[in-house]
């Protein structure tokens, strides 16, 4: 019983940590803003699930420039190039799979799954 509770608590704590890492902040209405960092020439998550209307803020934590863009049908965008400390957001307004990449470093890739 105690063990199960402890296990449940640590699972909950883990979930809390994971949620904090993604920093999904409720925005106006039910939309949220998620934060993805770019560090070590990689996005900190490979896949991110969001809802239509949510925004994702991409923060450059590397000491050099990054870019964020997608050519996916569900969201075609280019946030341009920005240096360390820079951050730009994009709102996902259609459901679908969005493949996100850094134009400067094409090995930096992630997927945003946008659900209704």
């Amino acid at each position: 019983m105690t063990k199960n509770l402890s296990s449940r608590l640590s699972c909950g704590a883990l979930r809390l940590v994971l949620t904090a890492a993604m920093i999904a902040v409720p925005a106006v209405g039910s939309a949220a803003e998620h934060v993805v960092s770019q560090k070590g020439k990689a996005f900190n998550v490979k896949t991110l699930k969001v809802k239509v209307g949510d925004a994702v803020k991409f923060v450059n934590e590397d000491p050099f420039s990054h870019n964020v863009f997608s050519l996916s049908a569900a969201k075609n965008f280019d946030l341009g190039t920005y240096p360390q400390g820079g951050a730009k957001s994009v709102t996902f307004d259609k459901p679908g799979t969005v493949e996100v990449e850094c134009a400067i470093h094409p090995d930096m890739q992630m997927v945003v799954e946008v659900a209704k």
Binding site: K41, P63, F64, S65, N67, F69, D78, G80, T81, Y82, P83, A103, I104, H105, P106, D107
Partner: protein
């Protein structure tokens, strides 16, 4: 660039001794020279500081596995023959090795490549050294894999202009090639896919990972001179050379694309990566080349406009020339002359030991001249 260690460079004292014995008048001077050498020798072999933990990011590991095309000796042997075979080109005069010449660091020593019929190409020939470690192929990354890249020059009308139908007929008609293909790809047809796989497998065997810099990473603190070690500090310091911002990782490339501000003639701008990814930041951006064996592959930049490594360093020191779409990471460096010379000295330490590359005996058609055919009396004029 010699790979001689500082110890080996200080080996001329016996000459001085002989001269001193034959010419007593200068014996004192020679003795002084010899003494200086003895005194200087420990200084020349003075160990430089050991690598810090972060430096191990430059250590080149084993070849990355390629699940779709594992390297085998048979594939590499076939690829070796194909790589050097000019008969793959449209008129039988150009092989892969015509531009990727192992005697010239697997490049060609030219500003830009020269293709079939003497066509001057628009970009420099990149080395194939350590291409196995790359994730991006071609200056603009238009090839998705090394196998795809291998067929690129063959399909280009200005490079090899290969007639694939004729080439397959040629390869299939020669016993030696049929044997090589069967050993490399048992049961598979001779075709584009197997030609590409063999060429890629061979290119993946061209590896440079035993430079003096690697020996220093391995713990040999005498593998670099103090100047070369200082050059490495300039290389990686974001406030100095900031070179490692792009020339990062074990193969000294971030597999990324940057506009480094190479001057371009008005109206003749090369779009670079923009042709593949039509994003504003990619106008004039090109792939970061490896720096391994870089001292062997002059001239530099994608148009060969820098004749020497010092010219490369000078370019970056002034923050590039064409600023119209310059990478944010290229800026004036304000390096002093000594720092620039140190940087060049460091880059010379990235030259690996150069293996002797054997020219393959290319499989020949079985149709040999018969005994009844008269031999030409003058072979030279006969060839003409």
């Amino acid at each position: 660039m010699s790979n001689a260690s500082p110890r080996r460079l200080a080996s001329s004292r016996p000459v001085h001794r002989t001269a001193a014995a034959r010419l007593p008048a200068v014996a004192g001077l020679c003795a002084l020279v010899a003494l200086t050498a003895v005194v200087a020798r420990p200084a020349a072999a003075q160990p430089v500081p050991a690598p810090v933990a972060a430096d191990q990011a430059f250590r080149l590991g084993d070849l990355p596995p390629v699940a779709a095309n594992p390297i085998t000796p048979a594939k590499a042997a076939l690829g070796h023959a194909l790589f050097f075979d000019p008969r793959l080109s449209g008129n039988g005069t150009v092989s892969c090795a015509s531009c990727h010449n192992p005697s010239l660091g697997w490049s060609d020593g030219l500003k830009t490549g020269i293709g079939i019929n003497g066509t001057v190409l628009s970009r420099a020939t990149p080395t194939i050294v350590n291409v196995a470690y790359n994730t991006q192929f071609m200056w603009d990354g238009r090839s998705r894999s090394l196998e795809d890249q291998a067929l690129g020059p063959m399909k280009a009308a200005e490079e090899m202009k290969t007639d694939f139908t004729s080439m397959m007929r040629m390869l299939s008609s020669i016993d030696g090639y049929r044997d090589l293909f069967e050993k490399a790809f048992p049961g598979e047809p001779i075709g584009e896919a197997t030609v590409a796989k063999a060429l890629a497998a061979f290119q993946r065997t061209v590896v440079s990972k035993d430079s003096r810099f690697d020996r220093w990473l391995d713990g040999d603190r005498t593998a670099l001179t103090p100047q070369e070690w200082r050059g490495f500090q300039v290389f990686k310091d974001p406030a100095k050379g900031n070179c490692a911002v792009c020339h990062s990782g074990p193969n000294f490339t971030d597999n990324g694309y940057h506009n480094i501000g190479v001057a371009q003639a008005h109206g003749k701008e090369d779009p670079g990566r923009f042709a593949v990814r039509a994003l504003p930041s990619m106008k004039g951006a090109f792939k970061t080349p490896t720096l391994r064996d870089v001292a062997l592959t002059a001239p530099y930049f994608r148009d060969g406009s820098a004749a020497s490594l010092m010219e490369v360093v000078e370019h970056y020191n002034r923050g590039g020339d064409d600023k119209s779409n310059l990478s944010r990471d290229v800026r004036p460096l304000n390096l002093g002359r000594q720092e620039m010379e140190d940087l060049v000295a460091f880059m010379h330490t990235l030259t690996g030991r150069q293996p002797i590359v054997a020219l393959p005996q290319l499989p020949q058609s079985p149709r040999a001249p018969t005994a009844s055919v008269a031999r030409p009396s003058n072979p030279v004029s006969a060839r003409n």
